[in-house]
Amino acid sequence: MEDIEMYRKMLEIRKFEEKVYDLFTQNLIPGTMHLYIGEEAVAVGVCAALNPHDYITSTHRGHGHCIAKGASLQKMMAELFGKRTGYCKGKGGSMHITDKSIGMLGANAVVGGAIPIAVGAGLSCKLKYPERVTACFFGDGASNQGTFHEGINMAAVWNLPVIFVCENNMYAMGTRQSTIMKIEDISKRAAGYGIPGVTVDGNDVMAVYEAAKKAVLRARRGEGPSLIECKTYRHKGHSRFDPAKYRPEEEAAEWFARDPLVLFRRDLLSKGIPEEFFQKIEDKINAEIAEAVTFARESPLPEPEEALDDVWVVE
């Protein structure tokens, strides 16, 4: 993927999430909301290293992964509105958006729940589609789940083509990493499974991309999984209206100053991409998001009894 395209994807995530927050505060979107703002470089850096047929698994904070893998903004937005035209026909909502057609195997609202599922997708890659790999996104909190240990160990011992991507935003909901973990770098845990582990600046999209490329190549060569820890920071709270008061102001200010979009834009400007180019991209994205909102608002609600569809596969 080209630099410009990566920037465009990051901005698409940012603008989408800002719009979602806005709609949520207007009570137009039910439920809760885990925004990806501030972490865009991780999803985009990793997905830029993947092919369309590769798989990803995602988390409760999954909008960024969906967009980075190429999901439709309209179907995402419609899902958030609980409409029939949404990805999950209104039955999944924010935390379960899935697009099988682009290899996006689903956001997953059980912390760490998708880790073994990614291992299984990796097994399919190995046995059925040797050209494919699976990237598995999860957070720092999930790295304390049993699924992290069980899943990574299994993928490691079977040399499965899985890239484990830990988005370390330093807080498991409101709990600071240092209060629940003795180590700072989660990538160190890779040694326990005999696989490579690396920590990168998760706000530097090119750093993420380079690490992902290496891990993807290793996976495609049949050499097994890797663990990439991306240190990053969410700009919003954990969910809904969480003001994230548990985070020291100076810490937040430091991270906000290292906004992944600002950093990348600065890089691209220094490479000679003209200023007006960015405005053009932004205008286009804004228009696409406006269309997505219109689509979502104008789409029909499901009938209540559609709640019984898709429980079973019916022959």
């Binding site: 698994t57 990805y87 379960h96 689903g106 073994p116 599922i117 291992v119 589609y129 898709d310 022959e315």
Partner: protein, 324 residues
């Protein structure tokens, strides 16, 4: 026709389905060539299909099922073995929150065709962590099918259907059914999920029994002939979907129903069966009773262990009581 044990019938089902469809893979602890499964259900399968398709896993129940789920979503048809049914507690998130719901939550985009095989049941003095009957846990979850065979013919035919089914299926195998012999055809056959079977016809009372209890109910029914009592014995075979129609038809005929299962009395599937009978045969019913396992964990000492599960004597006594 040939005579075969339940273990061998299950083994044949796996072998035939693996030959038929290369997407069928097996996952489990010690299922490969060295141990061949704690109860030998996977005997000589690695020999024929290799270690890529018959995978010895780490002792990681949640990852075994999670791996099966992810593999199923992407085109494989995994059959996972949980060595002892009690240990399925370690994999409940992947079975009940993931396998059962992923199709639903994705708006029908994915299928999760997995089979979770689990030996269950008391009788070996394995005590409380290796002996329970937990089928009711899964019956409660929309999206899961639950199967419990009682004999070789059904075991083979149901497992083949379970593997071909596009839904996740929890397949409960009683450890003391494994060694029972039965006759099965030489040629290929399947048994559909969701269909009960009248194992023995009768007119005075219907005994609906599951798994090993079917065999005990049959013995009791034969013994009760002496007393001039004619028992109809029905094996639901699949607990979800439950063949309510067949159960109700028998209840309408006899007017009396005794439900027998080994699982604990409280919260067991007898409650569901009773509900089905009340819905579908209320005006024909004189009595519905349940004979289930005692409400206790399974104890170690054989004398206590035998006592907590329904046996032939107790079934006989209960039937006599109900018919008199």
């Amino acid at each position: 026709m040939k005579e075969i044990t339940v273990v061998d019938a299950l083994n044949e089902a796996l072998r035939e389905e693996m030959r038929r469809d290369e997407n069928v893979v097996l996952l489990g602890e010690d299922i490969g060539k060295y141990w061949q499964g704690a109860f030998k259900v996977t005997k000589r399968l690695e020999e024929e299909f290799g270690a890529e398709r018959v995978r010895d896993t780490p002792i990681s129940e949640n990852a075994i099922i999670g791996c099966a789920v992810g593999a199923a979503m992407t085109g494989l048809r995994p059959v996972a073995e949980i060595m002892f049914g009690d240990l399925v507690a370690l994999a409940m998130d992947q079975i009940c929150n993931q396998a059962a719901k992923l199709r639903y939550m994705s708006g029908g985009q994915v299928k999760v065709p997995i089979v979770v095989r689990m030996p269950f049941g008391a009788g070996g003095s394995y005590a409380s962590h290796h002996s329970q009957s937990l089928e009711a846990w899964f019956v409660h979850i929309p999206g899961l099918k639950v199967v419990q065979p009682s004999n070789a013919y059904d075991a083979k035919g149901l497992l083949k259907s379970a593997i071909r089914d596009d839904n996740p299926v929890v397949f409960c195998e009683h450890k003391f059914v494994y060694g029972l012999k039965g006759t099965i055809p030489e040629e290929e056959y399947t048994v559909p999920l969701g269909k009960a079977r009248v194992v023995r016809e009768g007119t005075d009372i219907t005994v609906i029994a599951t798994s090993l209890m079917v065999n005990r109910a049959l013995k009791a029914a034969s013994a009760l002939e002496e007393y001039g009592i004619s028992c109809e014995v029905i094996d639901p075979r699949t607990l979800r979907p439950l063949d309510e129609e067949m159960l109700c038809n028998s209840a309408k005929k006899t007017g009396k129903v005794l439900i027998v299962h080994e699982a604990c009395d409280t919260g067991g599937v007898s409650g569901e069966i009773t509900k089905a009978l009340v819905r579908g045969a209320f005006y024909y019913l004189d009595a519905v009773e349940t004979l289930a396992g005692k409400d206790a964990p399974i104890p170690f000492a054989p004398v206590m262990e035998r006592w907590v599960a329904p046996d032939e004597e107790r079934i006989k006594r209960k039937v006599k009581e109900m018919v008199s």
